[in-house]
Amino acid sequence: MSGVRGLSRLLSARRWPRRSFTGTRVFMFGIVERISAQYPVVDHEFDAVVVGALRAAFGLSEAEFDTACVTKLFPTRSHTVAAQVGINAALGNMEGDNWRWHFYDTVKVSDWLGDQDAIHYVTENGLACPVSQPEIARMVLVVSLTEGCRGEGGILINSQGERFMERYAPIAKDLASRDVVSRWMTLEIREGRGCGPEKDHVYLQLHHLPPEQLAMPLPGISETAMIFAGVDVTKEPIPVLPTVHYNMDGIPTSYEGQVLRHGNGQDQIVPGLYACGEAACASAHGVNRLGANSLLDLACALSIAESCRPGDKVPPIKPNAGEESVTNLDKLRFSTQNHAAVFRVGSLLQEGCGKIKLYGDLKHLKTFDRGMVWNTDLVETLELQNLMLCALQTVSGAEAWKESRGVHAREDYKVRIDEYDHSKPIQGQQKKPFEEHWRKHTLSYVDVSTGKVTLEYRPIIDKTLNEADCATVPPAIHSY
């Protein structure tokens, strides 16, 4: 627990934070109407700058780092705080040897795509939660629906009024586990049997059940159905669709949250840069995430507190630092494009061939609102650009990934491909070379100007932090 030892280095002397202005700069851009837009820039210096990650920001501040937190949301709005009710309820005490069982579970559930040093770190330090059911995707009534609906006798219907689960799971039917149900719902929608004008959801039917049965165990469902879907559950079916709940990929980091660059077969740390939480890929989750792990933010803060000191010197920033971002912003405000492209991301990505064209259309983006104060239009346009970059990389990586493992399930490549075939004894098997198996991390890079994605690969870290204390779990077949 060296992170806490680091923090126990309490300084009794208070250090007043520096609010130093290293200077002001001005970016100026000429635009078509020959009015130059001026952007005065003020530089501030801090020990630590945290983008999002509220918990990490407080952790660093507690450790006496002069910290700035840059966030789109006011701190009380952050997801960690809002989710607090759920986290506190789910957490239990990690005592004794239990964490080793949890370590084993996490490795298994990650389908051996998780890095075992990262998993060792979070399970031993009690920062992860021993939930037995992996979260893959959840049925969604706008937000989510409990399995109670299905458990109470609700059935899933496609556009033809067919109870399609009977086809996929003749015995379990609608009571099959949720990850499997989500997958089959997606399949129905992809094959054109979705409901609604966009054919993008299926129906959960409850109105065949007696009203008393609905009211008693499921009062919240009736209300949510009315609030968000305008549906009276005693008369009509509820639209439901599978949704993305969590991103298991992200910026590659070490188990302590230090950002890594991969070159010449080696991981190199990018000094001073850390990533944690959903943005990062340490990877403690692999291809399946266990529940309630947003506290991993704190692990990151702790390891920073250990390796750096408040007041450490940092190299000066470049004179044109930030110019690219401001140029982009200026272009969005003053673009001369006249037509607004309507993005129909769902259908185009489905076709699989439109993604480069779609990226090209981004250069036509412009905002309606040109203001610089509380401009929601501008912020959401920037979000679109960022989301597009993420989507391009995710889709490209997934297309190239020709196997099924955990949440990455493909009908065209159903088998998991490791170095060895674990359905048979390993003796006598030839180990597959790195290029021919898929037990590896995909690294994707995107050229922002063209949208072209380049893919590389780096190996999984199998070695734990202390093999004597917690041995590596070798790969085995994982059936769902």
Partner: protein
């Protein structure tokens, strides 16, 4: 997820103005570190002035000045948890803004309606904003401002709007009534996502 509101359990909602002592029994994000909370600057992107919210130097000395155990973990609502070591994370109290124009206030409230801590409120408040924000008077805007910005947990707002829990007196006003009415979805609309912003710039018919 529609969390069925627990009845009578959990600490009561208290406004910031009630004071720290009154709030000391509240659950909040907590850590076991017996350190004093340092000064921290929080910058919200695109705020009206380059506003860095400098927190006052609360010295929240934990009752446990020396820590016996260095185990780092989070405790749930275990009955044996005395919660004595809880440290509250100080956040600036909500204050009505008197220095911004009504247009800026409207633009700010639109942003704050659309960026929430959970999806239910993102959808509900952004649709509510689309319906009502443009017609609100300055007084109503201030009432709405308090409603969506003072509570520290988004779920509280959702429970009050859906009448799962009674709202504190201070929020019982015309805007709360509008929100409750809106939540009922009398026109039975499909409210599956936040609306796009085009409506702001469309010419009124």
């Amino acid at each position: 997820m529609r969390r069925d509101a627990p009845s009578g359990s959990g600490p009561p909602w208290l406004p910031w103005s009630a004071g720290r002592a009154a709030r000391s029994s509240r659950k909040c994000p907590r850590s076991r570190f017996p350190v004093q909370v340092g000064k921290m600057a929080v910058a919200t992107v695109f705020s009206t002035s380059s506003r860095m919210l400098a927190l006052s130097r609360h010295s929240l000395l934990s009752p446990l000045l020396s820590v016996k155990s260095f185990r780092r973990f989070y405790r749930g609502d275990s009955p044996t948890d005395s919660q004595k070591d809880m440290i509250e994370i100080p956040l600036p109290p909500w204050q009505e803004r008197t220095d911004e124009s009504i247009e800026t206030k409207r633009a700010r409230l639109l942003y704050e309606s659309r960026k929430r801590g959970m999806l239910e409120n993102c959808i509900l408040l952004s649709l509510f904003a689309k319906e009502h924000l443009q017609h609100m008077t300055e007084k109503q805007l201030n009432l709405y401002d308090r409603l969506i910005n003072e509570p520290s947990n988004d779920w509280d707002i959702y429970y009050w709007a859906t009448e799962a829990k009674p709202a504190p007196e201070i929020f019982e006003n015309e805007v709360m009534a509008l929100l409750r009415d809106f939540a009922k979805n009398k026109n039975k609309e499909q409210r599956l996502r936040a609306p796009d912003l085009e409506y702001l710039f469309e010419k009124p018919r």
